[in-house]
Symmetry: D2
Subunit: 247 residues, 4 copies
């Protein structure tokens, strides 16, 4: 029996672990799943859950904003899954967020937006894309690289200089990769998550309507849908928001 294909979910941090877990769960229905996070406590629960319900998952402690760390993670993936083609990689980092008046922003805080978003995505993409090119003939669906964006990907709001520069840069990277690798049969997408995701961390943010927050599972379903599109019909960008959101 041919080994299952692989999905790598990267950038699963304190604020994005539930979203990452939903994506991992969704892709684990068809693929072996690797979850990358600096802190194992961000991936341990979902990895256990997937393995105990008949799927296959591992977590690797990884700092996506660090080249060495990303490279050693992909080396480990190659060792653990030597015959599994890479089918999907999701870059889901929430790092680099800072909301501050511009003149109070330190150089380090400002750069962190770029480091955690665009540079992390750069490291991940440089490792994933060659694997995609190698794998593409062996897969059911075109290999897919999805970047998670935010409102700040298309709007530089006051006090968001750090995060918006990172998210704009990430979107530029996504566009550039879509235009370079699309014609090679790789599906590159960018999702604009425009609203608050319904996770434990946002419990305290109460809205007038109880279902005013994005569902991590529904986001994961949309990512899976993107992945299943044939190469004749690739979506590059979609914007997801709660029905009640002002935009």
């Amino acid at each position: 029996m041919a080994p299952k294909a692989l999905a790598v979910i990267a950038g699963v941090g304190p604020g994005t672990k539930e979203q990452g877990a939903s994506i991992a769960r969704r892709f684990a229905k068809e693929y072996s799943v690797v979850v990358l996070s600096r802190n194992p406590e961000n991936f341990d629960p979902v990895v256990q859950e997937i393995n105990s319900s008949g799927g296959q998952a591992i977590g690797i402690s990884t700092d996506v904003a660090d080249a060495k760390s990303v490279n050693s993670a992909f080396d480990e993936i190659a060792k653990k899954f030597p015959d599994s083609p890479l089918a999907a990689t999701i870059f889901n980092s929430g790092g680099g967020f800072a909301r501050k008046p511009f003149l109070e922003l330190t150089e380090k805080e400002f750069s962190l937006g770029f480091e955690a978003q665009a540079k992390g995505a750069f490291y991940i993409a440089q490792r994933a894309l060659p694997l995609f090119l190698e794998a593409k003939e062996k897969l059911t669906h075109p290999p897919t690289l999805i970047f998670t964006g935010a409102t700040a990907s298309v709007k530089g709001s006051a006090n968001f200089a750090a995060f918006a520069t990172g998210k704009f840069a990430l979107r530029a990277l996504a566009q550039s990769l879509a235009r370079e690798f699309g014609p090679q049969g790789i599906h590159v997408s960018h999702a604009i998550i425009d609203g608050v995701i319904d996770i434990p961390r946002t419990k305290a943010w109460v809205f007038e309507h109880e279902d005013a927050k994005l569902s991590p599972d529904a986001i994961a379903d949309s990512y899976w849908h993107l992945h299943t599109q044939p190469r004749t019909t690739f979506a590059f960008e979609l914007d997801l928001r709660p029905y009640i959101e002002k935009w």
Copy 2:
């Protein structure tokens, strides 16, 4: 047994009938389907196909750019399906296309872009939205109104003044309805079809790559995906194009 919910596919013309047929086929897996087209030869084949394979479909001769015609179509729908909640309406018109130097464009040709696109969509939306508001508690998925856009929805190219004004106007309408009816639980979406669709009419357009055209079935799958999104996680806009497309 409760009657099946309904989907209405409007704007199925000579250039869009295969796309409309794919959408009708996809939604017919779950719903009774009504296809609106001026000329019955644009809907007869798909209506027969759906009915003979266990689904339920009717066609109604309708000019979507004519208020009376649209109103009489919806009156007929109400008579034929008195107990079926309206679950989805797709506005898929390709009308109003004209590619001409601006100074050769007649007033009539120029206006046709708006008439066939924005005004047709206006008539359809004014009838569909009240039905959605009425139906929304009875449906599995939030009622969904999808508008089909094109490259000309976001770019006014030289010689495309008529079609681009129509498609820009249609997108404005879609945005306005999404912002007004989203908070009422209605899902309004706009799809930018950026490329050539693979249908008999475009057979002669040969590209270097054989799969360089959009698949009508894959577009239909994306429309169905939009329809199944919960209201916590609505996509407003997605852009669909062949992997090989320059953009």
Copy 3:
């Protein structure tokens, strides 16, 4: 002495007459000016003011949303200024504004957005562009066609279906003309006026800051600046808003 070149300011209605007057005043410093408005009371004051301060101006009663009326206005201009090359035309209509829940919008109200904006601009452009092509060698600055947009040109807000479809359509037309006639040396521009203009009609709208409204004279200065750009360096679009505006 060669006759002065001409500027035509079209679409000067009850809500836009002061803005139109500012533009007329600015262009009258260099050109003979023609102001088009349905109602002479919208142009009489500025025409008198310009003539009595050493400039040259006429007004012509014109309904820009009516082909015959626009054509007879341009015929009259040709008679009155047989030797004056056309240097600039500003389309500044505020017509078609309606703010209403979508389901209360009549077909007529909905269409008025398109009629007053895109179709008016179509009539004006079809008459102005041939004159520009004829005049371009005789002018100091490239002949210039400027369309006045609004927030609704790029955002379809709830309850703005009629006005936004008109303004989106106008922007599509502007883009299409810029791409077709730019290479022929005609400067086509679109200005997004994003905020309230400081005119008598908006006196009652009081903001926290007293200078929270756009200055009609400053808008006119920007239009004049666009007009003076050489063809090596055309701006297509600029967005103008008060410093205090949320966007």
Copy 4:
């Protein structure tokens, strides 16, 4: 007599020195001008020219991508012009350009886009903005911070991952600053230079039309126009391109 106000032109490198020189010349008609460049040969000619024709200019060797260097430049400016209010700062860097297949891009090349564009702009803005806030009551025109963008500011093309991430990030920063400091009376603008600028370095790029390149002087005139806008009527963004450019 009150000392003349100051304009600082930053980011004048090998590929942008003529553009920087045009801006310096234009602002020197009203202000004392400071030109920042790593290499004095990029500013010496224009500084001499301005001083010998009655204006006042100095150059300071500065690496805009280095915090210390930017800080020492602004310290020197404060010493040389202790009583001159800062009226305008132009960030005009062309650094970080790399056109390469993504998989050949080194981490350093990729980061350079961000370093030279967004981070350079961050350093400059952090020094200029407090001076603007201090100076604003003493100036004829609102203090103005202009960022020079490019096609890559709004489009991530294939092989442009490094430059586009830098330019997107710069635009995010510009938007964020405009929204934060606009309400404080500071004019922040972003100009999208969409085409080839006519400078010695691009002499070899021959087009069908001889005036197919942007004029550095005309760009400078548009920057000056932005600077003279009153705060009631700020333009945030304008796109400049040759009449013959495809877009």
